[in-house]
């Protein structure tokens, strides 16, 4: 095991403070209503796309098999992908950390004296906080997905990986546009608002120096980058500017082109309940001689940022099967109540809870692993069958067990608390010995009046717990 590196810390929102942020949202009926309504909408749209349970189950099994097969061959496929992209004229870059990825991207921008970068939706660019780094380097980074554009205008981060502005009402967006876009009158008509965004952003697509995008699938055998989207901004970013930079995590690779159709079908049906997205964009080369448009330069940045740590452990590796559909958050009772911002991580919800500890270290994310009722909905809807509840239990063990010499994860034992461990050891001892149990329960009922009135989080919304005056064994004895 390599020496643990210092994990990347997010500038925008510290991962600590999770409990306080969660409480703020739970106490805000408007936000709760927004999330409840949106999640109900997305759950019913997904359900309508999978009317046949047998088809769904067999397609999920195929999706799981494809992802596991490709992860098993990951190092080989990364090399094949690099060879084929390079043969096609696409330049491949590798980054272990967000800082390295930002340096690569900003280096390309500076080489072209770029002043404006238009961005298609990319959660990996959020993960590395590219906008933050670009701003520091004096390069404008403009989000062009409507939802991302809205949250950028508001100075926020996406609250959902598929629908970034899901926490905002149209009235809030109307006010935001009116106050921030020159010459725009207040309107809360959604069509009018979208047309305002369209007008502003079209001018930027026309003049941008760099287009940045994410990648949904990278196909090793053909050297092809695939992008899924509805708006057309992804195509704009990858076609109109003279340079296209794509960024992706190292896990998003498939060996064969034929692996794409089942995963695409699972992705769009699980994410937004569409049988397919409006656009599926496959990019295999920069502009060729004689072609009249398209970027003359295409780059791909492959980012690790903790993924190789998840890869090293057979169970944790399943985290990397994810195709980023967001179905787990749509079905999560915790996400629905606290929304995406409370988590303080780039990826919220169940997938965020299992991937973020690898990116940020358990020091910053130990609390997230406990924010689950383990109801199992996330695992049931996952289109590639990631056993999310099992992984949450594993991460809790990693976070709260005693620090070990050669940990599987950065920050292992970060949540460890000597007193709590001692209490559990005592609990375990009492429950393993009939004599001890009898004595302890006798003492508990005898001294029940000593029970404190304030019992931490429990009594903040409930009446205090107190041992019963008579033990069950005493009641049974009396009855007989």
């Amino acid at each position: 095991m390599n020496a643990p590196q210092t994990p990347h810390a997010l500038h925008f929102m510290p991962s600590a403070g999770f409990r306080a942020r969660a409480r703020d949202v739970v106490e805000n009926p408007f936000l709760r209503q927004s999330f409840r309504g949106a999640m109900d909408f997305l759950m019913s749209k997904r359900a309508a796309q999978f009317p046949d349970p047998e088809e769904l189950e067999s397609l999920r099994s195929l999706g799981e098999r494809i992802r596991q097969y490709n992860l098993a061959k990951l190092p080989e496929l990364l090399e094949t992908l690099e060879t084929n992209l390079t043969r096609n004229g696409i330049k491949v870059h590798w980054a272990e950390t967000p800082e390295e990825a930002n340096a690569i991207i900003l280096g390309i921008c500076q080489k072209h004296s770029a002043r404006l970068m238009v961005k298609g939706k990319s959660m990996v660019s959020e993960e590395i906080e590219l906008n933050h780094a670009a701003e520091a380097a004096g390069i404008g980074a403009l989000e062009s997905d409507m939802g991302e554009y809205i949250v950028q205008l508001a100075g926020e981060k996406p609250s959902h990986i598929i629908m970034p502005a899901i926490h905002k009402t149209k009235e809030q967006i109307a006010k935001l546009f009116h106050e921030n876009v020159p010459g725009v009158e207040y309107t809360d008509n959604v069509d009018a608002l979208i047309q305002i965004g369209r007008q502003v952003l079209r001018e930027k697509f026309e003049i941008a120096d760099i287009g940045l995008s994410g990648v949904n699938f990278a196909v090793a055998e053909t050297g092809t980058l695939c992008l899924v989207e509805n708006e057309g901004n992804g195509r704009m970013c990858t076609t109109a500017p003279p340079v296209h930079i794509a960024i992706t995590g190292i896990e998003k690779i498939v060996e064969k082109l034929e692996h794409v159709p089942p995963l695409l079908s699972l992705l769009t049906r699980s994410a937004t309940g569409q049988n397919i997205s409006t656009y599926f964009n496959m990019i295999s080369r920069p502009r060729q001689p004689g072609e009249k448009d398209g970027p003359g330069e295409v780059h791909l940045v492959l980012l690790d940022n903790g993924r190789s740590q998840a890869y090293a452990d057979e169970q944790l590796r399943k985290t990397l099967q994810c195709i980023r559909c967001g179905a787990c958050m749509n079905h999560c009772p915790v996400y629905t109540r606290i929304g995406g911002h409370a988590y303080g991580t780039t990826y919220p919800g169940p997938i965020g809870k299992i991937i973020s500890p690898h990116m940020l270290g358990l020091e910053a994310t130990a609390g997230l692993t406990t924010a689950s009722s383990l109801c199992g909905a996330c695992g049931e809807v996952c289109p590639v069958k990631i056993p999310i509840p099992d992984l949450l239990i594993r991460l809790r063990e990693e976070a709260f067990s005693e620090p070990q010499a050669n940990p599987a994860m950065r920050g292992q034992g970060a949540g460890h608390n000597g007193l709590i461990s001692a209490v559990w050891r005592g609990w375990s001892a009492v429950y393993s010995s009939p004599a001890l149990y009898r004595t302890a329960s006798w003492l508990a009922s005898r001294f029940r009046w000593l029970t404190p009135r304030r019992q931490g989080g429990w009594t903040s919304v409930r009446t205090p717990l107190q041992p019963a005056p008579k033990r069950l064994r005493d009641l049974i004895k009396e009855r007989n």
């Binding site: 397609l59 272990e96 390295e100 057309g232 109109a240 034929e258 496959m282 690790d304 190789s308």
Partner: protein, 222 residues
């Protein structure tokens, strides 16, 4: 060691010994997707792309130009971007201007006329390579003659599709045509006009790409 070598070394040190058998994608499609007649595929394609807000008109092999003219007239569009290097683009460029519709050709690199493309091009006309029935999807492989921005920037995109080239599934299309051995610079699946539901889950068309997508579908029995 470079970042590349460090990442690969970490992965190689921990990769499983074997990946197992190649996933059997073909078997899944064989078990779950049936063969359909051309007429059924055309019907299903039409159903799904219309659900996604596209307009579809059935036309004959010789008669599509008349329908193209009618569609443009009805929408009061008097300028259409065409690809003069293609048979359909050349025909439109030859026959529409006498009817009062200007047909500039995409015959120069975009750098020389980007502003006109973005601001003075109300509609464009391209062909589709094929289509997919189960999702109502057009397959476009832009070429040097018929470039990528034609299907993206103009607010109205009109597409000529031969109904004989509709596949049942995306998988069937790529397998039958052997895509893995020769993908072009850019290949596209298009399943309706550009849209978004990013504001309060309210569907709105014309986000960044075309606001309207119109398909002229050539069918043999017309």
């Amino acid at each position: 060691m470079s970042a590349r070598d460090r990442i690969l070394a970490k992965l190689k040190a921990n990769a499983p010994a074997t990946a197992g058998e190649l996933p059997d994608v073909a078997a899944w499609y064989a078990a779950h997707r049936s063969e359909e007649s051309n007429a059924d595929k055309a019907k299903r394609f039409r159903h799904f792309i219309e659900l996604a807000h596209a307009e579809v008109y059935a036309v004959s092999r010789g008669g599509w130009l008349q329908k193209l003219y009618e569609v443009l007239s009805a929408k009061q569009i008097d300028k259409l971007l065409v690809a003069p290097g293609t048979p359909h683009g050349a025909r439109a460029q030859a026959e529409l201007p006498p009817l009062g519709i200007a047909c500039p050709g995409y015959d120069a690199p975009i750098e020389g006329w980007k502003a006109a493309m973005f601001n003075e091009t109300p509609a464009s006309f391209t062909a589709a390579r094929g289509a997919i029935a189960e999702t109502g999807t057009l397959i476009l492989w832009p070429t040097a003659d018929e470039p990528r921005l034609m299907s993206l920037v103009p607010p109205v995109h009109i597409v000529l599709l031969d109904a004989a080239s509709i596949y049942n599934t995306f998988y069937e299309a790529m397998q039958t045509e052997g895509w893995k051995d020769g993908l072009p610079t850019n290949s596209l699946l298009i399943s309706g006009p550009s849209k978004t539901a990013d504001i309060q889950q309210t569907l709105a068309y014309g986000a960044h790409g075309p606001k309207e997508l119109i398909v002229l579908m050539i069918e043999e029995n017309i």
